[in-house]
Symmetry: C2
Subunit: 311 residues, 2 copies
């Protein structure tokens, strides 16, 4: 990547992150719209920062697909719909951090939700962030002409985060913890956990961009392949960062995968092997969008960013 492209990507991400932050502040309930401790817990975790990668993926894929289809959604409505994925992602982080699950006390550089707001409000904040995500997806963009896309978006996300997606991945992950990884099919189990736990929602994020641009099945299939590769490389990079990064850079407790004996790419392939798997997934992401390469430079840059980030 040239320096100029790197600078452009940095600005591209910053501009869209600002849009997403503004949308999140608009859609999150204030103290007059929800019980005060619940509103506080929801806002605390969602507004704690973060890369906002999932909403940015919606926006980036929408921009690319719109340039091909000629159809585009109203920007403000689109950003609010995209922001739903950050609400849902945050719900999963809050619940995963609870004592009954991964029992983590640091997230996005701050004490976790249950440490600050108590377990009951953290649990409810996660529950309501899921509901609020679906409220946004089912209402934006408004109007009868968009109804089929709204229903499609809800279905795509609901499947991606349910028992056959993100939450299913978390369940498989919990089943692995502390059981050792010596059996023959550890690679298959690792791939399944990562595809579900992180990959499914990242793939759905990309897919929403295509849905809102009215993509035909061929274009949608390209986007799904790209989203799957991106989800994979993002999680391998996450596994690597858990080994190499500092708590300050990571914003959460590093080294926990090893302590909890989690099934990760470094654990199964070693560090060098995990880096090779990462580059292979990056190649898959590039290959997926080869048919639309003329329009999709930003998608190549985004995949490189997700693979080689430092936090």
């Amino acid at each position: 990547m040239t320096t100029e492209t790197a600078v452009d990507l940095k600005r591209y991400l910053a501009e869209r992150r600002d849009e997403v932050e503004a949308a999140l502040r608009r859609v999150l309930p204030g103290e007059s719209e929800a019980p005060a401790p619940l509103s506080a817990a929801m806002r605390y975790s969602v507004l704690a920062g973060g890369k906002r990668l999932r909403p940015i993926l919606v926006l980036a894929l929408h921009e690319v697909c719109s340039s091909l289809t000629g159809a585009a959604a109203d920007r403000r409505e689109l950003v609010e719909a995209a922001a739903s994925l950050e609400l849902i992602h945050t719900y999963s982080l809050i619940h995963d951090d609870l004592p009954a699950m991964d029992n983590d006390s640091l997230r996005r550089g701050k004490p976790t939700c249950h440490v600050v707001h108590g377990e009951a409000m953290a649990l409810l904040a996660g529950d309501t962030l899921q509901s609020l995500g679906f409220e946004l997806l089912s209402s934006r963009p408004p109007g009868g002409a968009w109804a089929a896309r709204r229903a499609d978006a809800v279905l795509t996300v609901a499947r991606a985060i349910g028992h056959a997606g993100m939450a299913g991945g978390q369940a498989f992950d919990l089943m692995e913890t502390g059981h050792g990884h010596e059996t023959a099919d550890s690679v298959a189990r690792l791939r399944r956990i990562h595809a579900l736990k992180t990959g499914a929602l990242l793939r759905a994020s990309a897919e929403l961009g295509a849905i809102y641009a009215g993509a035909d099945p061929d274009l949608r299939e390209i986007v799904v392949r790209y989203g799957n590769a991106l989800g994979l490389l993002f999680q391998i990079a996450d596994d690597l960062l858990d080994v190499t990064a500092t708590p300050e850079a990571l914003g959460k407790t590093p080294g926990k995968d090893s302590v909890q004996d989690k099934l990760t790419y470094p654990a199964v392939f070693g560090m060098d092997g995990a880096k090779r798997e990462l580059e292979r997934a990056l190649g898959e992401a590039r290959e997926a969008i080869a048919p639309i390469a003329g329009r999709a430079q930003i998608l190549v840059a985004l995949a490189g960013f997700a693979a080689h980030r430092s936090s």
Copy 2:
């Protein structure tokens, strides 16, 4: 109510409960479709019995509204969409029973989900039952002609269970527990908790029946008024049963409201006052449907059943 009507209502409820049970067994994931412990936890709690009142409300209101509008949904698809409300209701029960919340060990006559399946799987089972509910609502009935009603159904339910609905009511309820109820506005706070915690989803259940029948705004308003009154009387009856019923009849631990110093109708109004409030809500339910009385005998019977049930 005459004996003949009572028998008819009993059969009416049993027939629809059988339809709902069959739909729940179809839509819940088996061990090949989800991690086995997660599938087991989901199925354990959903298939533990229950009155299935929320799906039955969808079906009853759909039948009544369809007889007025002439529009009807495919029965199998409608029952599966209606079953989503039982999934979502069960999600709320599983999470409410967790140690961090109400810490209950008995529900629907059986040990609660976390007692049998552990806290982590109970938490995930609740999370996935919410997602699966939205998956059903966004996909049934299928086809482009139904897309606007699917999106409407998702939005109606998402709002009803979120921070301004069911989960908000649970948060207000938690804020009350053990704080004493001597202040001047305890009646207002009690009404707010009940309207949100139980009322919102029961009202949404009724509203879904109107949505799937293509009800116009006037008819929908009638249904909403009926649903609100039904939600209120259902919860007053629940409060009274917590004082009077046996564990066997109730299927959960009675007397917990008093032990936990919850804000309830008997606590605020006394038993006789609570019974008067119950009859008043029953009158509101009857009054709401007066404009469609010729078609709505079953709705009067349903309200009477919800008010005077023994469990």
